[in-house]
């Protein structure tokens, strides 16, 4: 008996450690597991509180569907919605509940209380638990979702009875080690009508939808998670093929720069930047309307495409056709790149939907196309997705997404006078997230208006501190070029004449 080897003692210690670490069950909901640092607490209860239409039921259904697809059956107990309606709703998100039910991976229990039922005397939930327990044992279910438990709890007119029954339900779930998710409505300003639930449960998730101007934004937040770390921030989420949470990951901070340069498309600008833009970083081209930001971005785009590096051009201000046509006047022909499919445009009206939907669509496009470089023309339009804060979050997340994927991100920003006087070249306060910033301005002399360019910053790279003149000719941007007759006037007028000339050049 004394001969307990050191090995077995060590093993016991290890077991002890293992058993004290909280096991987690992934939900399969895109982004949610990231903010939950792995998933829901295994064998424990999670409560999801939110207003109407915030996506609580979908969260529950997605969780069960994901688990069922991994051959771990579950039960969905619905107190409010009809099973048919749930099946239809899930189908719109691409989840076929009917198929999962047939395969035995899912059981939807219609537990809507009969609205005409009369209450006479006390009753309890033991019967319901016996029913669920019986069904769970039969199908081998490991997780249970109770959807809209408030409907059940409202059957009790006595808050103390209600609370006791809920304690009983909670204990029963823990005893049976079901990983459970309970959804409850919260209305108006009241955090949660059944607020004791938040104290009782091991994990509390809050979902809400709010209006900024005319745009709806949805947010999800983990309020509490016993025994685990989690992201306590509010995170945006949208509905696109189900629920998608868009966490701001920490990859941005851990990524080391590549230190490789890519040409800007202009040798002189490359020289100013000691070799060009840094690959896989974020670059800001800021300037007033007509200073040549789009031209600079298109020069870069064209040269990248000629090297067979894919470029995604996200335009919020002009159509693809307008950009391609306008650029011909500066000698930049994007048509071959478009035809070969190495250049792709993404055209959106900023106000057409919420910033979060823009973000997901843009990231989806990046993931589908896998561009080496992404151009956003222009982030000043992103304010129209909601507020400056919305634009800030959108651009921050986009910078993050591009860094994660190693894509160079060229952000254009149209400045107005107030931005220039405040010194914020990004307009929305993201300057500190930008690696390289170029400022393009007008300088008015008694004789003419000149364009000037300066490098405001270039992280991790030597760069020129000189302010240089530049002109836009039919050969694009020429830095330090002597002012000649064919200077592009400031506001884009007179382009047609030079465009005509250029068509010839294209045809050879």
């Amino acid at each position: 008996m004394e001969k307990r080897s050191e090995k077995s003692i060590e093993a016991n210690k290890l077991n002890l450690v293992a058993s004290t670490v909280l096991e987690k069950v992934p939900t399969g909901v895109s982004g949610l597991d990231e903010i939950l640092h792995g998933g829901l607490p295994s064998g424990r209860c999670t409560i999801v509180a939110g207003g109407p239409g915030t996506g609580k039921s979908i969260l529950g259904l997605e969780f069960l569907a994901f688990r069922a697809q991994n051959n771990i059956p579950g039960i969905f107990v619905t107190f409010e919605e009809r099973a048919d309606a749930l099946r239809k709703n899930a189908m719109t998100f691409g989840i076929d509940l009917g198929a999962l039910e047939k395969s035995g991976g899912l059981f939807i229990m219609d537990a809507r209380p009969n609205p005409e039922a009369v209450v006479s005397g006390d009753f309890d939930l033991k019967g319901m638990l016996a029913i669920i327990g019986g069904k769970a044992a039969k199908m081998g279910a490991r997780q249970i979702v109770f959807d809209a438990i408030d409907v059940l709890l409202n059957l009790y007119s006595d808050p103390i009875r209600e609370r006791n029954e809920m304690y009983m339900l909670h204990n029963w779930l823990l005893d049976h080690e079901f990983t459970s998710l309970i959804t409850v409505k919260n209305e108006g300003n009241s955090y949660n009508q059944h607020s004791y639930l938040d104290f009782m449960m091991d994990c509390v998730i809050l979902m809400n939808a709010r209006q900024l101007e005319q745009v709806t934004t949805r947010r999800i937040r983990v309020v509490k998670y016993r025994g685990s770390s989690y992201s306590s921030n509010e995170h945006p989420f949208i509905f696109k093929n189900g629920l998608r949470v868009i966490p701001l990951s920490s990859v941005l901070l851990s990524r080391t720069p590549t230190m490789k340069h890519v040409t800007t498309g202009s040798k002189k600008l490359d020289a100013m930047l000691n070799g060009g833009y840094m690959k896989s970083t974020s670059i800001l081209l800021a300037g007033q309307s007509g200073t040549g930001k789009t031209t600079a971005a298109c020069m870069f785009t064209k040269s990248a495409c000629e090297r067979k590096e894919k470029v995604l051009y996200v335009s919020y201000e002009e159509s693809q056709e307008a950009i391609v046509t306008n650029m011909r006047s500066t000698g930049i022909d994007l048509t071959p790149a478009l035809k070969s499919g190495i250049l792709r445009f993404l055209n959106f009206m900023p106000e057409s939907r919420a910033a979060d939907e823009h973000l997901v669509d843009t990231i989806d496009a990046i993931d589908a196309f896998k561009p080496a470089h992404v151009v956003v023309d222009a982030i000043s339009a992103c304010g129209r997705m909601g507020t400056t804060q919305t634009a800030f979050e959108f651009v921050t997340r986009l910078i993050n997404a591009c860094k994660e994927r190693g894509s160079t991100l060229i952000l254009l920003n149209q400045l107005d006078r107030s931005d220039e006087s405040s010194g914020d070249v990004s307009g929305i306060g993201i300057s500190s997230l930008i690696d390289t910033a170029l400022l393009m301005q007008y300088r008015r002399t008694p004789e003419q208006t000149q364009r000037i360019i300066e490098i405001v910053k270039a992280r991790g790279s030597m760069h020129s501190n000189k302010i240089k003149d530049f002109i836009i000719t039919e050969k694009g941007i020429e830095i330090g070029g002597k002012l000649r007759g064919k200077v592009k006037p400031p506001a884009g007028a007179g382009r047609a004449a030079s465009a005509k000339k250029n068509v010839k050049g294209v045809r050879k």
Binding site: M109, E116, V118, V119, S120, G121, D124, I131, L152
Partner: protein, 103 residues
């Protein structure tokens, strides 16, 4: 439990389903209360079927039962559902459409 009696052939027979959870207090109470009410007001023309959800959960699922005790009046139509231990006899009688004077 059955109280079918030849005297009551002309009058409708009441058929009840009572869902209980084992010998849990409210379930036991409901059984007692229901037989008291039936014996007093429906003597000879009632039929009670007890379903213990702990033994038979699938019948409970079929009838959409979520709390126990739950009483369902199957016949005469329309169906009536009553939650609770049935300790409020007046309320139960009213729900079963049984008027005091006809009793």
């Amino acid at each position: 439990m059955s109280g079918v009696n030849k005297k009551n052939v002309g009058q409708p027979c009441y058929f009840f389903l009572l869902f209980v959870a084992g010998d849990e207090p409210n379930s036991t109470l409901a059984q007692t209360n229901l037989s008291l009410i039936c014996n007093k007001h429906l003597a000879g023309r009632f039929n009670i079927e007890i379903v213990d959800v702990i033994e038979d959960f699938s019948t409970a699922i079929d009838y959409g039962v979520i709390v126990t005790p739950t009483l369902i009046l199957m016949k005469p139509e329309p169906r009536v559902t009553i939650f609770g231990n049935l300790n409020d006899a007046k309320k139960v009688l009213a729900a079963l459409r049984l008027k005091e004077e006809t009793l």
